[in-house]
Symmetry: C2
Subunit: 145 residues, 2 copies
């Protein structure tokens, strides 16, 4: 559960200075599932937390570097989505409409990748996997239209 000071602790543990801007971004990412830099910028502006877009990018970059945040690209979109990273190797189920992001347990790729390594002679360094769909809420909304 997101306590008032969790974000500050996260930052401190990562060796980053605790600033209003970073706190606000972490807090926002905790509520929303995943957001583009611009969406973060807008959302904070609406909350009266006005600050530069480049600050958003820089904050996200440091957070990513420290492993607190990760990014991906939604299919057919040109901008990147940022989201809080949870420990370990995990994949997401992502709603293509509202961008809600659901953490999945398990990874069907690892065994597959090992098998492939053997056959292909490649040294496997990683993989990307994301599953896309419509979440229940968005299915309903779509039905109404």
């Amino acid at each position: 559960m997101p306590c008032e000071n969790c974000q500050a602790d996260l930052l401190r543990r990562a060796g980053l200075k605790v600033t209003r801007q970073r706190m606000a971004i972490l807090e926002l990412l905790q509520e929303e599932e995943s957001l583009t830099a611009d969406q973060i910028f807008m959302a904070l502006r609406e909350k009266g937390q006005e600050f530069g877009l480049s600050t958003v990018y820089r904050a996200l970059a440091s957070l990513e570097e420290k492993g607190l945040v990760s990014r991906t690209e939604l299919p057919g979109s040109s901008s990147q989505c940022f989201f809080l990273k949870s420990g370990g190797h995990r994949h997401h189920l992502i709603c293509i409409r509202c961008r809600k992001r659901v953490l999945l347990d398990g990874c069907p790729v690892e065994a597959f990748a090992e098998e492939i390594a053997g056959r292909s002679g490649f040294v496997i360094t990683g993989h990307s996997l994301e599953i896309f769909g419509l979440c229940p809420a968005c299915q309903q909304e779509d039905a109404h239209v």
Copy 2:
């Protein structure tokens, strides 16, 4: 096997006009595993096939629309890679060094995704999966450095 007129046929069947530019791009994609728009532009320029970068983008867009070409983004890269699409639902093993792209058989995600659909209430619309690694040739080159 890439016959002289295969590309032309591909274009005709797709309902696209057969032009020097599109032919050259298809031919190039047949040799190389996957290339960015800019790499295609450069490669063609070196072959004396000089033409505009916007033509490359437009040609790739039509080819993609007709299902002949597909694109992805390599991890940590800001530009997109284009490659010839092979029929059906397939995934790739990609060398992070030379971008060689190997078609894989089978998909470990489909069963996983179905199971998830049941549990999550999402309607699954698709998934992305790519496996990254170093190909045998690049492993050797790296060993020499």
